[in-house]
Symmetry: D2
Subunit: 103 residues, 4 copies
């Protein structure tokens, strides 16, 4: 198992997206302070949720790709435990997807 | 129609919640910088989405309550146009709910 | 308070949409029986969820419109309790929207 | 690549769940026919959506497990193309998850 998480290679991209989301949340605070019309705030909340969603799908994809790579590398080296580990990780990722769908 | 948006009376509460969400998003950035395990980040993303969701449902409720109040006040004063305006606002809120469900 | 639910006037439309959704769910059963490719089934599940979502948003809109009408009619007749009843119904609808967002 | 889809071993379980969902959708039709209260219908719609959600997460998990297995088997047999194929499948599954999150 490699030492870095699956998203490591895209870390700067994730940080950039999370900083933009932080800016959007501060924008929401300004809208509330300025008594902006409710529906316009809701539209902006939907935009922030979509941006977070997109970050989370990217993390899931990176994580799963990483699991597959580990499993394949393990198999090529005759590491029988690798398959079980990869399956456990897929189950764990599925549980995280369920939490995302419910949040 | 009153001059303030429906959430006006709970403005401080919304600002407090949005500042907490901003802090959670900064926490996500730290997690990415620190190479925290993917699944733990996803769990935290789900928490932020739930917090945003809860803000948006509060805004919808305040907005609808406000619409009903306006319609009732208008009706009591014999303002016939008030009913049409309230219906238009309910349609507008339903469209915002649809966007939330898809985001 | 009128005796019919808010969706009463669109009842045939809702029944038609729910029958179509029933057909889509039977289609999913056929896909599973025929060993259709996973991702194609998931795409079809997303379509059924969207169709259900659209039914639920329609019901919310009809229900809220009905609440506003009741409140307005009550107010025009000097029914002071009507406003409290309308507010209770808006709170109840917001709780239903929260359940939809989490499902 | 094996000939059966990833969910093949759980086919009967999925069929049973989809038949139950079909029954729930017919129940919704009866509720509408009987003029049942809006909010109670919405609660039932949320239940059907959750049931569908749970089917889809199961399918995603079976599919990903299958992909990992194929990749591992391929790697053990020195099939270099297997890794690229597994990665393509993970990307495809991530796209399906995105559609689920938006539906």
């Amino acid at each position: 198992m490699s030492e870095h998480p699956g998203y490591h290679d895209h870390r700067d991209d994730y940080l950039k997206r999370l900083r933009r989301i932080e800016g959007q949340v501060r924008g929401l605070q300004r809208m509330v302070t300025d008594d902006v019309y409710c529906i316009d705030i809701l539209t902006q909340v939907s935009a922030v949720k979509s941006a977070l969603q997109s970050v989370s799908v990217g993390l899931v994809q990176d994580h799963l790709g990483h699991c597959v790579q580990d499993a394949v590398t393990g198999a090529a080296e005759g590491d029988e435990a690798g398959r079980a580990r990869a399956e456990a990780k897929v189950a764990e990722a599925s549980a995280a997807i369920t939490r995302l769908l419910k949040s």
